[in-house]
């Protein structure tokens, strides 16, 4: 992956993706000639200013003459691209797939324009005229979570503090910060109870991973035998009603699609007790409270306990399951098409024992990535397992 930053004056979307793809290929020690398929991940022509970007990026990377498919799934785009690669390999139509994604969500447009473009991912017909920021539907969900379970603003502010603190130690992160719960609560209001520091970052960045069969890796990746192999043990993508107000009332403060996707991906991976078997997770913290909702929907803690867990740091670096060891979208940042792939890069590095210092998770075997589109309209959960 590339570093995530607020604005890369030295690199447009093509340069970013080329850099990430090169890093993935150098890591594997493989050449492009033996790769069967490219999967391009990006969300928005509005941000990237190029239609049909998929095959433009494929040409930039050097995949001309091979098939390339472009995948889009809102915030879950990168994770869905990885799932697409897995499907192609399982179907036997490819042995090695290069997944590359990126987005220039940073300052190539001003904040007002960025907010306006992002608002288009709300329902244009029935929602977008009513709210210009995604803080609004997230705020409605967490307000109901607070009413039902006694969750507090200070509890989810702890997540904003945690992920920014962790990002200080990640050289690939957009913006680590040392801030307090008081500073989060004192930042500019977006939609009550959410404040500016509860919201994630908009970044320029790209990420890439190479997925292959074991036979291919043994033949074409000289570095494969030097490191513990990591497999994708489970993957699932599930949709929900995109509009919050169409969802069953009992599920209003929850990500139903995430709950189902996690269940399916865990079943595939043979995970019966997620809180005991999962060693780390990259979770979609688009807003701080969304992370504590995800603790519940991913089965890390009982439903209704996410706030308490956040407050006591149960999923901090030294916790039961370290969550967002990269710093998450709040600290590492978010370049939409790259985000789910960057999560995979973080999890794979952790599983291989390549992360050093205080972010390092001790001897992990199973890591999970979690992303969603909109306010959970599509959820993708991928499970990674170290095999040796």
């Amino acid at each position: 992956m590339t570093r995530f930053v607020g604005f890369r004056a030295d690199a447009g979307i093509r340069d970013l993706v080329a850099e990430a793809a090169r890093n993935a290929l150098l890591d594997a020690g493989s050449s492009l000639s033996a790769i069967d398929l490219g999967v391009a991940a990006y969300e928005s022509d509005h941000f990237n200013r190029q239609m049909s970007l998929g095959h433009v990026l494929a040409e930039t990377v050097g995949l001309t003459g091979k098939p390339t498919v472009r995948v889009e799934g809102g915030g879950a785009t990168g994770a869905l691209a990885i799932q697409t690669a897995v499907t192609a390999i399982q179907a036997g139509s490819a042995r090695a797939v290069l997944v590359f994604g990126g987005e220039t969500n940073g300052r190539s447009v001003d904040r007002a324009t960025a907010t306006e473009i992002l608002a288009l991912s709300a329902d244009f017909e029935w929602e977008m005229p009513l709210f210009g920021t995604f803080a609004a539907p997230y705020a409605l969900m967490i307000t109901e979570h607070m009413r039902r379970y006694g969750t507090t603003a200070e509890q989810f502010a702890e997540i904003a503090v945690k992920n920014r603190r962790i990002a200080l130690h990640n050289p690939d992160a957009h913006k680590g910060m040392s801030i307090t719960v008081g500073e989060v609560r004192g930042s500019a209001p977006l939609a009550d109870p959410y404040r500016l520091f509860d919201a994630s970052l908009l970044s320029d960045g790209a990420a890439a991973v190479l997925l292959a069969t074991r036979d291919w890796a043994q033949a074409h990746s000289p570095t494969f035998r030097d490191r513990p192999p990591v497999a994708i043990a489970g993957t699932a993508a599930v949709t929900d009603h995109p509009r919050l107000s169409d969802r069953p009332e009992e599920m209003f403060p929850h990500f139903a699609a995430k709950r189902l996707a996690a269940r399916q991906a865990y079943r595939m991976a043979g995970i019966d007790h997620p809180s005991e078997q999962i060693d780390l997770a990259e979770v979609y913290d688009s807003f701080s409270g969304a992370e504590l909702q995800a603790y519940e929907d991913l089965g890390f803690c009982p439903v209704g306990e996410g706030g308490q867990a956040a407050g006591e740091g149960r999923f901090d670096l030294d916790g039961l399951i370290p969550v967002n060891t990269s710093g998450g979208l709040l600290g590492r940042g978010s370049a939409v098409g790259a985000t789910g792939i960057a999560q995979a890069v973080e999890v794979v590095r952790q599983l291989r024992g390549e992360v050093e210092g205080e972010r390092a998770v001790s001897d992990p075997r199973i890591g999970v990535t979690d992303t969603h589109a909109g306010v959970g309209a599509l959820a993708v959960v991928n499970v990674f397992e170290r095999l040796a």
């Binding site: 017909e125 977006l190 939609a191 009550d192 107000s245």
Partner: protein
């Protein structure tokens, strides 16, 4: 599209790069399609929904075909009342203008249909979950700047008596 010139940009590390200034504006004629009777209803002070002519299931937002059995639906009028599930105060204006910030936004279950709407509530403080609301309609006014028709609809807290 418009090219507005090349701008020099210096990174914090002192490297200089050229940035191309580009402006794009799109103009659309966006059809509301099957939902047109809903928009006509706003002109008449009515909230409208659809009901399946086969199984009787009701749908809001309106749907041309019933997702349950694929029968065609028919339009009917709602009472305009509803109940708040959750509400928030929003501090960023919606993209089409016409709303002063802060404003109150709520997820509302509508009476008489199995569905809901996320919409404005004309009050200062976000109301409690369970509060009852009623739709209010603003007529189109040729002397005012045009307002997105969905913004000519809003909800008011309904006074309740025990």
């Amino acid at each position: 599209m418009k090219f507005t010139g090349t701008h020099k940009f210096t990174t914090p590390e002192g490297q200089e790069y050229s940035l191309l200034g580009i402006e794009m504006t799109q103009r659309y004629r966006h059809t509301v399609g099957f939902s047109d009777p809903f928009y006509q209803g706003i002109d008449q002070g009515l909230l409208r929904a659809t009901r399946c002519s086969g199984c009787g299931a009701s749908w809001f937002p309106p749907r041309r075909y019933c997702p349950e059995d694929q029968s065609e639906t028919v339009w009917y009028d709602l009472s305009g009342t509803g109940r708040i599930v959750a509400a928030t105060r929003v501090h960023i204006p919606p993209p089409f203008g016409g709303v002063k910030v802060p404003y109150v936004l709520a997820s509302i279950r509508l009476d008489g249909v199995d569905g809901g709407i996320t919409h404005r509530v004309l009050t200062e403080e976000p109301p409690e979950s369970g509060s009852l609301v009623v739709a209010r309609f603003d007529g189109a006014d040729p002397d005012r700047p045009p307002l997105h028709p969905l913004l000519r609809l809003a909800f008011e807290i309904q006074e309740t008596t025990k």
